[in-house]
C-alpha cells in the first residue's frame, strides 16, 4: 500500500496533471501535491499522485557512497585476507 515508484514526467497537462513514463509505459498522474515539477523531472508516484520530487544529485551521492563503502571494505579484506 505504501509502495511508490520513481517516474519521469514526459508531458504537463491541464489541471495539475501530467503524463509520466515508467519502464516504457505512459500513465496520467496528478501533480497537485508537488510544486514546480517540470518535464524531465522524476517524481515518486503513489496511487496516481506525485508525492515528492526525486533529487538526482542526492541519488548520485548515495550511489557513490555505496561504491565507496564497498571499496573500503574490500581493500581492508585484501590487505588482510586471513583476518577476522
Amino acid at each position: 500500500m505504501c509502495l511508490a515508484l520513481p517516474c519521469r514526467i514526459v508531458e504537463l497537462r491541464p489541471d495539475d496533471r501530467a503524463l509520466v513514463e515508467l519502464d516504457g509505459v505512459g500513465k496520467e498522474i496528478s501533480l497537485a501535491l508537488v510544486d514546480d515539477a517540470a518535464v524531465g523531472d522524476y517524481v515518486i508516484v503513489h496511487v496516481g499522485y506525485a508525492l515528492s520530487r526525486l533529487d538526482p544529485e542526492e541519488a548520485a551521492k548515495t550511489l557513490a557512497l555505496f561504491a565507496e563503502l564497498g571499496e573500503a571494505a574490500r581493500q581492508e579484506r585484501d590487505a588482510d585476507p586471513a583476518g577476522r
Binding site: M1, D35, G48, L51, L63, F66
Partner: protein, 383 residues
C-alpha cells in the same frame, strides 16, 4: 528503470555487506525493527537476511496499513454496501482482508444478495472513486480510504474536489492512521520497554511516509527513547545502507535521526501535502489497530467543515470491535513479538490464496512476505 535498478545492483550489495561485516562487533547482538511493510517485503524478496552477519536481527514492525486494519472496519464497509446500498470503492489490498462471517469485500462482491458485482469496485487511485461518483449520480458512492500518511493527502484532495464540485453522492470511510503514534506504541510496549522478549536497538524508518511528513516527526524516538532511527528507501541497497548506519550509531552510543533516503525525503517533508491534510482531517481521540489495540490520537477523521463527505456521519454507522481468529498471531507479529513461522496456521491453513489474517493479505504483510520468499529458510533458522 532509472532510480530503481541502480539501487538493486548485486555487486554494490556485496560491497555493502562487507562494510557491514567490518563494523559489526562480535560481542553483541543488534536488533533493528523495520517499521514498514515495504522494508519487510524488500528484506524477504532480496534475501537480505542472508547477507547480514548473524549478530544482526531484523524484527518486523506494524507498518502495513492493510495489516493493522481491524476486522470491524472492513465489516463497516460491507454493511454500507449491504444495508445502506452504497457503491463502495476500495484499493486492491483491502479487498481480500478477512471480515466477520467468513466474508471479505471480494467475497461480498461475488456473493449473493444486494451486493452485486458492480457495487464493490477496485480502484487504483482516489481520483477513480470521484470519477465513479460523477458517473453514477443516482448512487451513493463511498471510498474506503486506508493507509498511512502516504495515502492520506490524495484522500484530502478528493474530498476538497468533491466539495468544490458540490457532489452530493460522494463520501469517504476514513481509516487513515498515523506512523509516529504506532512507533511510540511499540516502544512503550512492555516487551520492548523492559528489555524483555523484544529489545530494539534502532529503527529503520519509513520511506514514502517520510516524503510527506519528513524526518522531523521521528526525533522524539531519538530524544525520548534513545533509539537511533534511519529513514531509508525501499530498494535493497537502501535498506543495507540504513542497517550499516544504525550499527555505526549503536557502536558509537549515539541515538540520532538520520536520512538515508535523501533523494526524496527532507527534514520538513511535503508542506503542501501536510497543509492539505490539516485542512481536511483532525485527530481521532482513539482508534483501534489490529495487534496494537486502541491507540490514542493515532488516526484521522474528517473535520466538521467537510462533514457531508464523511461516510460515518452520512450513514450514521459505528465501529464495532470484532475478535481476530483465535489462532491467528497477526497481533503478536505486528508488535514484533512473534515471527510468521511461529503461527501454527502459517502456510498450512493460511496462505495468500486463502488468508486467515490480514498479515497474509498484502505483499507487505510479514506473513505474505515470508510465505512468498523466505518461509523455508526461515523455518530452518527458527527450528
Amino acid at each position: 528503470m532509472r532510480f530503481i535498478d541502480e539501487f538493486r545492483d548485486g555487486e554494490l550489495a556485496s560491497g555493502l555487506a562487507a562494510a557491514i561485516r567490518r563494523v559489526v562487533r562480535r560481542d553483541r547482538e543488534y536488533r533493528f525493527m523495520e517499521f514498514c511493510g515495504g522494508h519487510t517485503h524488500t528484506i524477504s524478496r532480496y534475501g537480505l537476511s542472508d547477507l547480514l552477519p548473524h549478530q544482526v536481527r531484523m524484527i518486523h514492525g506494524p507498518g502495513c496499513p492493510v495489516c493493522v486494519l481491524p476486522i470491524g472496519r472492513i465489516d463497516m464497509a460491507i454493511r454500507l454496501v449491504r444495508d445502506a446500498g452504497v457503491m463502495l470503492c476500495s484499493y486492491g489490498d483491502p479487498m481480500r482482508v478477512p471480515a466477520s462471517g467468513g466474508l471479505s469485500l471480494l467475497k461480498a462482491k461475488a456473493g449473493p444478495g444486494r451486493a452485486s458485482g458492480s457495487d464493490i469496485r477496485m480502484i487504483y487511485s482516489a481520483a477513480d472513486a470521484l470519477l465513479v461518483a460523477r458517473q453514477n449520480p443516482q448512487r451513493q458512492v463511498v471510498l474506503l480510504a486506508i493507509g498511512f500518511e502516504t495515502t492520506t493527502p490524495p484522500t484530502a484532495l478528493v474530498i476538497k474536489q468533491a466539495q468544490a464540485l458540490g457532489l452530493g453522492n460522494f463520501s469517504v470511510l476514513c481509516c487513515h492512521v498515523l506512523t509516529p503514534p504506532a512507533i511510540a506504541s511499540i516502544l512503550d510496549s512492555p516487551e520492548v520497554r523492559q528489555g524483555g522478549s523484544v529489545g530494539i536497538d534502532g529503527l529503520v524508518g519509513p520511506a514514502h511516509v517520510s516524503t510527506i511528513i519528513g524526518t522531523q516527526p521521528y526525533e522524539f524516538v531519538a530524544e525520548q527513547y534513545r533509539k537511533p532511527v534511519v529513514v531509508a528507501g525501499f530498494e535493497p541497497l537502501d535498506v543495507m545502507q540504513a542497517i550499516l548506519m544504525l550499527i555505526e550509531q549503536v557502536n558509537a552510543g549515539r541515538a540520532l535521526v538520520e536520512n538515508q533516503f535523501s533523494r526524496a525525503v527532507t527534514r520538513e517533508g511535503n508542506r503542501k501535502a501536510q497543509n492539505l491534510m490539516a485542512e481536511v482531517f483532525e485527530l481521532r481521540r482513539s482508534f483501534a489497530w489490529r495487534g496494537l489495540g486502541d491507540l490514542p490520537f493515532s488516526a484521522l477523521r474528517i473535520r466538521r467543515e467537510f462533514a457531508e463527505f464523511d461516510a460515518e456521519r452520512r450513514f450514521a454507522i459505528r465501529y464495532e470491535a470484532v475478535a481476530d481468529h483465535p489462532a491467528c498471531e497477526c497481533g503478536a507479529i505486528l508488535r514484533g513479538v512473534k515471527r510468521p513461522s511461529q503461527c501454527r496456521l502459517f502456510a498450512s491453513v493460511c496462505t495468500p490464496e486463502n488468508p486467515v489474517g490480514s498479515c497474509m493479505v498484502s505483499s507487505e504483510g510479514a506473513c505474505a512476505a515470508h510465505y512468498s520468499f523466505g518461509r523455508f529458510a526461515d523455518l530452518e533458522r527458527v527450528s
